[in-house]
């Protein structure tokens, strides 16, 4: 069966589809959305005020002019706070004792945007209390923010008084996390598990959308040629099989190209969002140093630490990410696309009226959705189960309707090794070749059929009687 001329069908289909408004609009729109989402991810912590729970969450400028400090902690003095608040144009005024403080509280009552900060040594702890004017010239959020800042300075200073240097203080103040596990079993990191759950969802969804949408386009294009009678003209120059091969490969290339455009948009957005995240990390993770004296590079280091930690989690979750897995993913995507597009092309060729296409495509959509859910659900629940795998998950790796959606995430998350991936690809390839042989056998009859609506039994009958 001749496939002569498929390259010309490929070229024409590719160029016309590339120039189509639907391709241009969908590409620009989705790339912009992905780009904007990445930027938003970088901006989000800043926009939401970052770690506000500890600092009180101030959304606007600080309006406080004067900070009266009564320090009875026995550890720090009011002058220790001078430099820290000087940067914020807040004048720090020391009060000797509580009676003097009473006088100041009279001033506070007069409403001059002041705050009275009291450090008291209690039996087992130090209390820090912020008193604000009754006329609401200082909000409770502002008061909380200043109190939290004062607490950071206090913690820093008290360690400094014990003779620790800046590095030792940073180490001493570093946050800690706790977790439990059974001895001998791998420790479960919730962040890693969350990433592992998100990867199948995102990758299956993107691949599903691309394969189904472009599969539909193959069917639509073939149906248009058949119903508009262009096919009769084409068939004086090429065989039907060359038409379907050219179209499938053109649509497959376009979908792969669009997929790459989405990835590049994400990378470009990420490149812009990353410095924002690092700045945020620097400002929220660096311990407060009195006098604003953040050591040179300390902010960058803290940001880098945060990003490195995040990348470490992503790296752990995507332990299977390497050149081999990427090649596997591209191959399985292309073969998977051809598998689904062959079905779509056959359906497109079987209809006689363009308005019948949507109804006729229902079996195609059902097969695609079944494959997608089979790949998606077991993979997000599996990490919670014993051993991290289950029967449905294994099935989804090897069934041709689900493997194009399941294999990429399984390879990336390290749930599937190279040998298993190769077996999965081979099964998909064999099924695609068998399907292509079946389609080649009946396609020429189906494409010229103009009578009654073809049923699946009619199509199978054609294959049998050929």
């Amino acid at each position: 069966m001749s496939t002569h001329g498929w390259q010309k069908v490929f070229k024409f289909t590719f160029i016309q589809q590339l120039k189509s408004k639907s391709f241009i609009i969908s590409s620009v729109l989705i790339c912009t959305l992905i780009f904007a989402m990445m930027i938003l991810l970088g901006l989000l912590p800043t926009l939401t005020g970052g770690d506000d729970s500890s600092s009180g969450g101030v959304t606007g400028d600080i309006t406080i002019n004067k900070l009266y400090i009564v320090d009875n902690s026995g550890i720090t003095e009011a002058k220790d706070y001078l430099d820290s608040f000087k940067e914020m144009n807040i004048e720090v005024i020391a009060a000797a004792d509580s009676s003097e403080a009473e006088g100041y509280s009279e001033i506070v009552k007069n409403g001059t945007a002041c705050l009275l900060l009291t450090f008291e040594k209690q039996e087992n702890y130090i209390s820090i209390h912020a008193g604000r004017p009754a006329d609401e010239s200082v909000t409770s959020e502002e008061a909380n923010h200043i109190a939290a800042m004062a607490e950071s300075v206090f913690n820093y200073k008290r360690l400094e008084k014990f003779g620790l240097d800046q590095s030792q203080i940073s180490t001493a103040l570093a946050p800690t996390s706790t977790g439990t596990s059974v001895i001998g079993e791998k420790t479960v990191n919730p962040i890693v598990e969350a990433i592992k759950a998100m990867v199948p969802m995102l990758s299956s969804l993107i691949l599903f959308i691309l394969i189904i949408v472009y599969g539909q386009l193959v069917a639509q294009s073939i149906a248009l040629e058949k119903t508009s009678k262009v096919m009769e003209l084409l068939l004086t120059s090429v065989r039907p099989l060359a038409v379907i091969i050219g179209k499938i490969l053109a649509m497959g290339s376009l979908s792969l190209m669009q997929f790459m455009m989405f990835i590049l948009s994400g990378v470009a957005g990420g490149a812009i969002a990353m410095p924002m995240l690092m700045n945020f990390a620097a400002s929220s993770l660096t311990p407060s140093i009195p006098g604003g004296a953040v050591p040179d590079g300390a902010a960058g280091e803290a940001g880098a630490d945060f990003i490195n930690e995040l990348l470490g989690y992503i790296g752990e979750a995507l332990s299977g990410f390497n050149a081999v897995s990427l090649i596997y993913i591209v191959i399985v995507f292309l073969i998977g696309f051809i598998f689904f597009a062959l079905i779509a092309g056959l359906i497109g060729a079987s209809i006689n009226r363009s308005e019948d296409l949507n109804n006729a495509m229902q079996p195609f959509a059902l097969i695609g959705v079944a494959g997608f859910y089979l790949a998606y659900f077991p993979s997000i629940f599996a990490p919670l189960e014993e051993g991290g795998e289950n029967l449905f998950m294994t099935l989804s790796y090897y069934l041709p309707i689900s493997s194009p959606f399941a294999l990429p995430s399984a390879m990336l998350t390290g749930n599937m090794n190279a040998i298993e991936g190769l077996i999965s690809i081979l099964i998909l390839l064999v099924c695609t070749v068998l399907l292509a042989m079946l389609v080649a056998r009946i396609y020429e009859q189906v494409i010229m059929h103009t009578g009654n609506k073809l049923k699946i039994s009619d199509i199978l009958g054609m294959a049998k009687n050929k």
Binding site: S2, H4, G5, K8, V9, F12, Q16, L224, E225, S228, K229, V230, M231, E232, L233, L234, L235, T236, S237, V238, R239, E444, Q445, M448, G451
Partner: protein, 304 residues
């Protein structure tokens, strides 16, 4: 013998669309496939073009099985088809490239046919922006662009206005002059009579009449008599044993058994001194032959 179609048949389940059709184009010229709707003409054309598989028979071009993919075959389909939203120039380049043509040759051919068919104003348009007639012209360009030796025209003039129909006729005459082999399917009998040497009349998948058109007509003899006179000639016709088949203000038409009957009537009119305007003795038209054979075939089918 350049195109030889031998015993081709097509069966769809229990329905036979084509029963052992055989014909050949030995010389360049136009061969007509005629028939009622559903007679099997388009099925035969699709089988010749290799679009449809056949249950039996063979199609040979210069002694070898015809493969439109490797030979340059031009085809103007009965149901016109272009991509509605694509530019017509891009479509024509695509169709020509599929025929193996190179860009300079394509541009040259397009320039020639666009000039000939008065299409130059539509170069930048999409197909859906063109009128039906102009879309038909573009389709004709697509069929002719590769200068095919074998040309198949399925209802080439249907839906065209008289001016565009004349343009198409000029093109067909030009192709005949270039010694092309042309198969034409058409319902307009005068067009067939104008262009075709040989014909096949089909009915329900069968060939009911085949042969050279002139010879078929000659075999009938001159049996149609049409008379116009400034007086009543009907009594004279009755004397000659003639009964009119049609009486109109301009003519009285008779079917005659022999040319002697016509001579007898003419002598009587002259003897009666009735002024004669027209006395036309002629062969049956293709239209009459077609209707006669289709009716006979239907009668035969009814009996079976």
């Amino acid at each position: 013998m350049s195109l030889q179609v031998t015993n081709i048949s097509k069966q769809y389940g229990n329905f036979t669309a084509l029963k052992g059709l055989t014909f050949s184009l030995d010389e360049p010229g136009v061969y007509a496939l005629l028939g009622t709707n559903g007679a099997g003409k388009t099925t035969a054309i699709r089988i010749i073009l290799g679009m449809l598989s056949k249950n039996s028979g063979e199609v040979l071009w210069k002694g070898k099985p015809l493969s439109p993919v490797s030979e340059k075959v031009g085809y103007l389909a009965e149901e016109r088809g272009l991509y509605p939203k694509f530019k017509i120039m891009e479509q024509l380049h695509y169709f020509a490239e599929l025929k193996g043509m190179k860009k300079p040759d394509i541009d040259k051919a397009i320039d020639y046919w666009f000039e000939k068919l008065e299409l130059n104003d539509y170069r930048t348009k999409t197909a859906e922006q063109l009128s039906k007639g102009n879309q038909q012209k573009i389709q004709l360009v697509a069929a002719l662009i590769a200068d095919p030796e074998l040309l198949i025209l399925d209802e080439p003039l249907s839906g065209l206005d008289p001016v565009n129909a004349n343009l198409f006729k000029e093109v067909i005459n030009e192709e005949i002059a270039k010694n092309k082999y042309i198969i034409m399917s058409c319902h307009q009998m005068p067009v067939i009579e104008e262009f075709c040497n040989d014909i096949t009349i089909m009915h329900h998948g069968n060939a009911v009449l085949q042969g050279n058109l002139n010879e078929i007509k000659k075999s009938y003899g001159r049996v149609n008599l049409s008379v116009k006179a400034d007086g009543d000639i009907l009594p004279l016709a009755q004397q000659c044993g003639l009964t009119p088949v049609a009486v109109t203000p301009s003519n009285i038409d008779f079917k005659i058994q022999s040319e002697d009957q016509a001579k007898q009537l003419l002598n009587k009119i002259v003897a009666a001194d009735i002024p004669l305007v027209r006395f036309d003795l002629r062969e049956p038209s293709l239209h009459e032959i077609f209707v006669e054979h289709i009716e006979k075939a239907e009668e035969k089918e009814d009996k079976e």
